[in-house]
Every structure is written in C-alpha cells, then in structure tokens.
Symmetry: C2
Subunit: 236 residues, 2 copies
C-alpha cells in the first residue's frame, strides 16, 4: 500500500482560508472595501469565489474575521509594551516609551500576525475614512479601552496638561500614524528622495519624536491666549 503522508504536498492549497484572509487584507487596505470584489479577492488568493462564501459567509463576515484575527494580538502587544513603559522612572523617557509602545505594534511588518502589522493598520485607516459600519463597531468596542489606557498613562506623565488636550493630541497621533501608512510615497516625493516614507524604522522615529514634543506642548488654556489670530482672518 502506498503510504500517503497524511496531508502533505497535495494539489490542494495548504490553507486556503489564510490565503483568502491575506489577499483580502491587502486589497481592502489599498483600495478600500467597496472597490474590491469578492472575485478580486478569490483571484488574488488563487481560490474560487464560492470558497470565500464558504469560509466567511459574506463579504462583511470576511472583514469581520480580519479584525478578529488582529485586534487581540495587537492590543495584547500594546498592553505589554505599555506596562513596561509605565515602569520607566524619568518622566520624559517614560512619555517617549509610552508613545513608542503605542506606535510600534501598528508598524511591525505585515507578515507578523501576532504583532498586528502595518497592513492591518493601513486597513483600519482606510475603513475609518470610508466610514465602514462593520469596522466602526469593532473599533469602538475593541480599541477604546486601549486608547483610554494610553491616554491615562500619558496623562500621568504630564500631570499639568488637561486630559482634553491629551485626547486631542493622541487623536492627532493616530491620524499621523494612519496617514504615514496610507501614503508613504508622499514623504519621499516632498523630500525629493532624501527620505524614504516607506521605511518603518524611519517613520517610527520621526513620529515618536514629533509626537512626544506635541504632547509636551503647553496646555491650550494657558497657551498664548493673546497670540490668537496673529495673521488669520476671523472667518468662522
């Protein structure tokens, strides 16, 4: 009898489900949700359109599963890094460590599932921009806890800044983070090739430094109240 080595090297894709997930992730992240058809995804994954329906029932179900797959590990990693960051004594160093703990898991390479990955972050950016319903629900109930934890930690290291200001600035951080992953080529273009917007290490360092400084800016209430409208007309 010819011994079949259980399940190895058949014509069958070893894990079609994963291939579909990966293909969908990439396509959604670069083109948006509605611009990508189930057939596009199937073709990119080397699968049959019907296979997508079989594994994920609907297109929304596919997106949902992508989120489920990443949210847990990513938040876990962030929590670990945050916990370590909070143990840093020096306040300046601690703030930087906290920001880095927030940024790093969002940037780590796409092939690394456990770390979250830039691809998933870019996906989140696109879904957020498109106002995707499925994404909005998951985000609100999955990331808000983490966001609060980070805001609290930052607030602890910057006690003299009102919480409101910290919320705004962390909001800006997320926007900058998203945008860096969405259009990294713009950095390369504007710097006339002197900087590589696609280099994660570079982006992280730039983002962390800029953000730390932004957090350390004086509070708005007491900041330059007489300097308002130095130049701009009062339109609004």
């Amino acid at each position: 009898m010819v011994r079949k080595p259980t399940s190895k090297e058949t014509t069958r894709k070893p894990n079609m489900r994963e291939a579909i997930l990966a293909a969908a992730e990439e396509l959604f992240a670069t083109n948006g949700f509605n611009a990508v058809s189930v057939r596009d995804i199937a073709q990119a994954a080397g699968a049959n359109p019907g296979s997508v329906t079989y594994h994920f029932k609907t297109k929304d179900g596919l997106l949902l599963e992508i989120y489920r797959r990443h949210c847990g590990p990513m938040n876990l990693r962030r929590s670990e890094l945050l916990a370590a960051a909070k143990r840093v004594r020096d306040l300046q160093d601690r703030l930087e460590a906290i920001v880095r703990a927030y940024v790093l898991p969002a940037f780590t390479s796409g092939s690394d599932l456990a770390g979250g990955g830039a691809r998933f972050t870019r996906l989140r950016a696109v879904m957020s921009a498109e106002g995707n319903e499925v994404a909005r629900k998951i985000i609100a109930q999955t990331f808000d806890d983490t966001s609060h934890a980070f805001i609290d930690a930052i607030h602890d290291s910057l006690p003299h800044i009102p919480r409101t200001d910290i919320v705004w600035r962390s909001h800006f951080l997320l926007g900058a983070l998203y945008y860096s992953l969405v259009t990294p080529d713009r950095v390369s273009r504007l710097s006339r090739g002197e900087a590589d917007g696609g280099d994660p290490a570079n982006a992280i360092e730039q983002l962390v430094q800029a953000t730390v400084a932004a957090f350390q800016a004086p509070a708005l209430d007491q900041a330059a109240p007489a300097r308002r409208k130095t130049v701009a007309s009062s339109k609004t």
Copy 2:
C-alpha cells in the same frame, strides 16, 4: 389659462449642476467613492440620474469637477495667508502663523466655496485613503507646489531643523488634519464628552498648538541617540 410666471418659482431647479456637485461632495466625503452610486447622488440632489451624465459625462468626471472647483480657491487662500505669515518677525509667532495659514483654509465651513471647506478636505482624506486614481493625479500636481511653499517657509523659521524632518512633520500635520475631519466623534467619545471634536475652532487651536510644538522638536539626528529602544523590543 393658468399663467406661468416666466422663470420664477418653476418646478425646475435653479442650478441643478451645483446641487449635484454639492450632493456628490457630501456623499463621497462620508462614504467613499465606490460606495456611492450615481443614482444615490442624483436622488440626494433631487435630480435624475441621466442629468449627472449630461453635466459631467462620467462619475470620474464628477469627482474631477469637484476637485477643480475647490483646488484653485483653496490654494489661493493658503498662499495669501502664507504670504502674510511670512512677514511676521518673531520666529515663534511666524511658525504658528504659517501653520495656521495651512490649517485654516482646510477647516472653514463647507458652505464657503471660496475658502475650500471642511467638506472638501474630508473628501480629500477619504480619496487619499482609498487610493483613488483621479484624486491622486490632481493632488500631486496641484498641492505639491503649495506643500513645498509651506515646507520652505517653515524651514526658514526653523533653520536648525533638517528639511527631511520638516517634511515628515508636515506630513504628520496633514494626517492629523485629515483624521480630525474624518472622525471628529472619536475625540468626543474619548474625552467623555468634555471636548467637542466637531467644533472647528477647537480643533484648529488644538491642532496648531500641537503641530507647532512638533515642528520645534529637536532634530532627529541629534535627538537622544542613546535613548533608543528604552523599552520596545527590536523586532523590525
């Protein structure tokens, strides 16, 4: 015979073309390009689907016209404000004025066509995230000049910061700006109602203050070279 008052209060829309443009702008900005059908736009504008084809030929043509309509006036306004900002003597004040000159036209109310408007900026954010082809072409050839002008002006007021760093930070500024317009509700939610993310004046002040501080951060080359990886593991 029933007298029809020549051309007053007829059933005909006074300017259907404008109505279609406005409706498309709003729908694209909130749902993305592909999620909105020509029929959706027509219905929102109180028009017939065929009317859209008549005025703009294709759906892409409609998007193109929206950009054409806004880019000119918005860049003009920015140039004016930038010119005024560059005349400010004090370097700190000048930097703030420059940033404000960049941010203000992007935020001014949507009904104000000449000023650009938040609606159009939100549209740009969404198109950028979706990687829309039409938008990308226009953006690159319309906004890059303005961006360079602002980067140069900022560099003049911060001579000790490398141009590369300034490019990165202005990139972050645009990302933060976009994100503030895309999901203002997130700010309200995270601040537990203490801040209104939808209030433009508030957003502008927060964004300007944070950004000015970010620009003023020490240059990356000389910034804390020994502090790297205080906490984070070296995954990448």
